[in-house]
């Protein structure tokens, strides 16, 4: 990470240096770190990074006009002047360590937060994708208003027709969004690999070439030519020892022998990093004519536009084909639509809103930090008005004085920027740690030269922002000011006070916006957590594996599963065991339409979800049987097909009817020709389980009997009487007893599954809470500072009042009132701004209105309370002053 950081910083060095020394410097750094420097590695890296930063800065400073290559450095009056100002600024700041430290920390917080969030935004919004001519790539999706589909995967027959009939598509490829797990046995050791099925032109469409060997050919999409695979770079290195002879070798995956024909280059990671190898579909040619090939939607089409073709043209042509298809195939395509989206837009469609919200929040935070520093500088400017007055009296022009003051802001913002870069680096690492929570794509979050440039821009912008106002104010002090207003105590003049007050109002308002945002997320998250997901999240665990193709038919697979379940039940700590095709809250797999026996042909039930389960699943996860009966031994594999349905299914599709005993078929033409369909009898109703997230209502769902509809990737769920993770060794040994060559693919506690389904909300919540807390602290510091300043300026006045017998409490009240008026105005303005902006959070909030009164009131009380305390403390201190001493001060 730090090597990368140094590399990035070096890119900012003058070209002359870069060409001659950069590579060498980097290799020396790498050599130095390579020497088992375990302890103090962190400290060493920090010193190295700072050293390189200093190097780059110095090199640029050295490059004054005419300075290159000569021994004389800095030449030119302007450069001399700037260097002088900077040196003076550094000296001044060094003499005021308290002020400098505060200002730099505040800036570092603001810039650091921006660095971290910008790194994330950069990864999604700006970093180039690893494909040639990215802007000619687009995704096609299918839509269906009846099913509520807005960006669905496509049916292959439809996509293949688009490929042939849309002239603006140079080519179209399909890939499966599912990554299949296959068992690869090497030297007697089984391991699982992620396999992605693609059409033969997949790599060509993406413009990706193999690093070794070749990619696929279009013909390999069809007819059994699918016994070839291409390896990902990572898999080639980790599983095949980066063997250059791997091309041409045959390997065994899941009981079939395939030939490795190519290896992809590093950096080609698509559709995701779980893919270890790609394989062509190898469909039988007759699929093209099959109805299911046009009905089942599970593939993602990606297109490369013809050179010169625009997205709009392509979309117009696509719509023509789509409407032709809907006439030609009314059975499957009556209401099926399609759309086209640029590749990147489509890939980031889910993260765009949260990212923009976070970007907005950190931008606010940076403005708040700058306001704070501006305030500090103004207060200090007040103390320096005598110095400034003196300089003016001695003939310094206003521009010179301003340059001096701005040099200070420049030094502060540079220091703040450097520290902020460090903080941001830590923030990026923290965010990378959150990938385990399931933020997809967050692995790409990293510092690169764009981020460093952004930090530089942020530092310069904030330096100007907080420096200019105070510099204008302070430099305006004439010679008279030095003697007039200032006096010994250097109290602020009225005009300066007005600016200070404005800044405090702004601080409170900005902080209110951020804390309300955080408060809304907290409240929403608490509500989300309170939703009953419909199954037991405590004391439960699930494991998954893949039953390899060696077990050739249903009976062999079922026998495998039965033996494993029996072994599990005998292990201590495991109380109940069940099977399920897909865990709840883990998303959805396939959905379909159905008809019930006796329904008129036009009545169709849309979009029901399916899972395979056995009775043990409901038992192990405490899912209630609401009515009817469970699957039982009487439901034999070859007997009449039976299903369970959830409560939502009953409510949506059999309102006011008794579904038990009804027979359904997943076929919208079932009523017309019942003899052609498989009929399932509904034998019972079970409780709803949320399928996608606790925030999304449960959807209508049918559970097939796992003994009748079998699969090769079952999840086994267990209720344990001990810590769920402690049974894992027993589970492993049970599986090994059934077949030592079948490894466990997944181990997940149901609690993790539940938390994972809320990971995105939690991620945003965590960040917004951190920003809110920082904002609150900054506002408190701002209010404290201004009250303390006012108190100091009025020391004499307070002394006189106290000497004349005013009670301390009265004086405190007077001071408090002034502070609280500012806080109140800030709160009101912040409230208005919040009401205008929190609407952006709507899509992220669960059952909380963006203008939720309870949250707003609570946050205003909190902020008001903190601000009052920040007013009270300095006011209180002012009254503690001995009246005599305060008078003597003059």
């Amino acid at each position: 990470m730090s090597t990368r950081l140094i590399e990035v910083i070096l890119r900012l060095a003058p070209r002359r240096f870069r060409e001659r020394y950069a590579a060498e410097l980097l290799s020396v750094y790498v050599e130095r770190t390579g020497r088992g420097r375990r302890n103090g590695r962190w400290w060493f890296d920090l010193k190295e990074v700072l050293g390189v930063l200093r190097l780059v800065t110095k090199l640029h400073l050295d490059r004054g006009p005419g300075a290159e290559g000569t021994t004389k450095r800095g030449g030119g009056l302007m450069v001399d002047l700037i260097l002088h100002d900077l040196r003076f600024a550094v000296r001044t700041l060094r003499r005021n360590p308290g002020f400098t430290l505060t200002a730099v920390s505040v800036l570092a917080l603001g810039i650091g937060a921006n660095t971290a969030i910008f790194s994330a935004a950069n990864a999604f919004l700006f970093r180039p994708l690893p494909f040639a001519d990215e802007d000619r790539l687009a995704f096609v999706y299918e839509t269906n208003p009846e099913f509520g589909w807005t960006d669905e995967t496509a049916a292959p027959a439809n996509a293949l027709d688009w490929r042939e009939q849309v002239a603006a598509f140079e080519d179209l490829a399909l890939y499966s969004e599912w990554v299949t797990r296959v068992t690869h046995v090497a030297d007697g050791e089984p391991e699982l690999l992620g396999l992605n099925n693609v059409t033969g032109n997949f790599f060509d469409v993406l413009g990706a070439r193999a690093e070794l060997g070749r990619t696929f050919r279009w013909e390999e999409t069809w007819d059994g030519d699918d016994d070839v695979v291409v390896l990902s770079h990572a898999t080639w290195v980790s599983r095949f020892g980066a063997d250059p002879e791997v091309v041409g070798r045959t390997i065994d995956i899941g009981g079939t022998t395939v030939e490795v024909v190519g290896v992809m280059p590093e950096g080609f990671v698509f559709p995701n990093d779980r893919v270890d190898l790609w394989s062509p579909f190898g469909w039988p040619t007759e699929n093209r004519q099959a109805v299911w090939f046009r009905r089942a939607h599970w593939l993602r089409p990606v297109v490369r536009l013809a050179p010169g073709a625009s997205l709009a043209e392509a979309d117009a042509q696509l719509q023509v084909v789509v409407s032709r298809l809907s006439e030609e195939y009314p059975e499957t395509n009556r209401v099926m639509g399609a759309g086209l989206a640029p590749m990147r837009d489509f890939m980031i469609r889910d993260v765009r809103t949260p990212l923009l919200i976070l970007v907005g929040a950190v931008a606010l935070l940076l403005v708040l930090a700058c306001t704070n520093v501006a305030n500090l500088m103004l207060v200090r400017g007040a103390e320096r008005s005598r110095e400034v007055g003196l300089r003016t009296a001695l003939g310094a022009g206003r521009a010179r004085v301003m340059a001096l003051l701005l040099a200070e802001s420049a030094v502060l913002s540079t220091l703040g920027g450097a520290a902020g870069l460090g903080l941001g680096w830590l923030g990026v690492r923290a965010m990378q740690g959150m990938t385990r929570l399931g933020i997809q794509g967050a692995t790409g979050v990293a510092l690169d030269h764009r981020v460093v440039l952004f930090v530089l821009a942020a530092a310069v912008a904030s330096g100007t922002l907080f420096g200019l106002g105070p510099a204008l104010r302070t430099s305006g002090a004439g010679p008279a000011d030095a003697l007039k207003e200032g006096g010994r105590s250097g109290s602020p003049g009225a005009h300066r006070l007005r600016l200070v007050n404005t800044l405090v109002v702004a601080e409170v308002g900005l902080a209110l916006m951020l804390v309300i945002g955080a408060g809304l997320m907290v409240r929403s998250f608490l509500k989300l957590r309170a939703v009953d997901p419909g199954f037991a999240t405590q004391g439960t665990i699930a494991v998954q594996f893949n039953v390899p193709g060696r077990y050739q038919n249903r009976d062999e697979v079922l026998d495998f599963e039965r033996r494993f379940a029996e072994l599990l039940e005998g292990r201590p700590g495991i109380e109940r065991v069940g099977r399920i095709g897909l865990l709840p809250l883990a998303g959805t797999s396939w959905s379909s339409q159905f008809q019930a026996e006796g329904w008129p042909p036009e009545r169709i039930g849309f979009e029901i979800l399916h899972r395979r389960a056995d009775a043990g699943y409901f038992d192990a996860l405490d899912i209630p049987l609401v009515r009817g009966r469970m699957f039982g031994p009487e439901d034999e594999p070859d007997g009449p097909l039976v299903v369970l349905v959830n409560e939502t299914f009953v409510r949506e599709h059999f309102p006011g009817e008794d579904p038990i005993g009804q027979k359904i078929a997943y076929d919208r033409a079932a009523a017309a020709n019942p003899q052609d369909s498989y009929w399932y009898e509904i034998v019972g109703i079970v409780g709803d389980q949320h399928q996608v997230s606790p925030g999304e209502p449960a959807r209508a769902e049918v559970f097939e009997n796992a003994d009748q509809d079998w699969g090769r990737d079952p999840w086994f769920v267990m209720k344990t009487s001990v810590d769920p993770l402690s049974v894992v060794p027993a589970v492993r040994s049970a599986l090994a007893e059934v077949d030592p060559l079948v490894p466990l693919a997944e181990i997940r506690r149901l609690r993790e599954v539940w938390q994972g389904s809320m990971a995105r909300q939690q991620f945003i919540l965590t960040l917004l809470t951190v920003f809110g807390a920082v904002a609150l602290a900054l506002a408190a510091v701002g209010v404290y500072g201004v009250t303390a300043q006012a108190a100091r300026a009025r020391t004499q006045e307070i002394g006189i009042r106290m000497a004349l017998g005013a009670r301390g409490s009265k004086v405190v009240a007077m001071m408090l009132r002034q502070g609280l008026i500012l806080v109140g105005v800030g709160l009101m303005l912040g409230l208005v701004a919040s009401l205008l902006t929190t609407r952006a959070l709507t899509t992220l909030l669960f059952s909380v209105h963006p203008a939720d009164p309870a949250t707003i009131v609570a946050v205003m009380l909190l902020l008001g309370g903190v601000a009052s305390l920040a007013c009270y403390l300095p006011a209180r201190r002012a009254t503690r002053v001995d009246p005599v001493a305060s008078l003597r001060a003059e």
Binding site: R20, S27, V28, L50, R54, L59
Partner: protein
């Protein structure tokens, strides 16, 4: 020529008896003066760049025994050697003063 920085002098010293590459200079400084004296890589390259621009050091051909042909070796130029000698003399004179004023007590072996 302004006063020589300690780092510049250390690099001149490191190159006085042999041509070295960047990492070699750091190792030499670390071995002689302890790890605390070693500059950050950035600081050293800032110095190397300036010294090369000032004509104190120059690139030397890699020795045939070099473990990595891509490494660049540095050597003292005649000017660099005379600067190092002058600085040594200056320091020696200072040390002599220090000794005369009893700031430097000879260690008993």
């Amino acid at each position: 020529m302004p006063d020589m920085t300690p780092l510049t002098f250390r690099i001149l010293l490191a190159l006085a008896d042999a041509n070295r590459h960047g990492y070699g200079i750091i190792k030499e400084i670390e071995q002689r003066d302890g790890p605390e004296a070693a500059p950050s890589t950035g600081a050293m390259y800032l110095a190397l760049q300036r010294m090369e621009a000032d004509g104190l050091i120059e690139e030397a051909p890699s020795p045939s025994t070099a473990d990595d042909a891509r490494r660049r070796y540095y050597a003292l130029t005649p000017a660099g050697r005379s600067e190092a000698e002058a600085e040594s003399a200056r320091l020696a004179a200072l040390v002599a003063v220090a000794r005369a004023k009893k700031l430097l007590v000879a260690r008993k072996a």
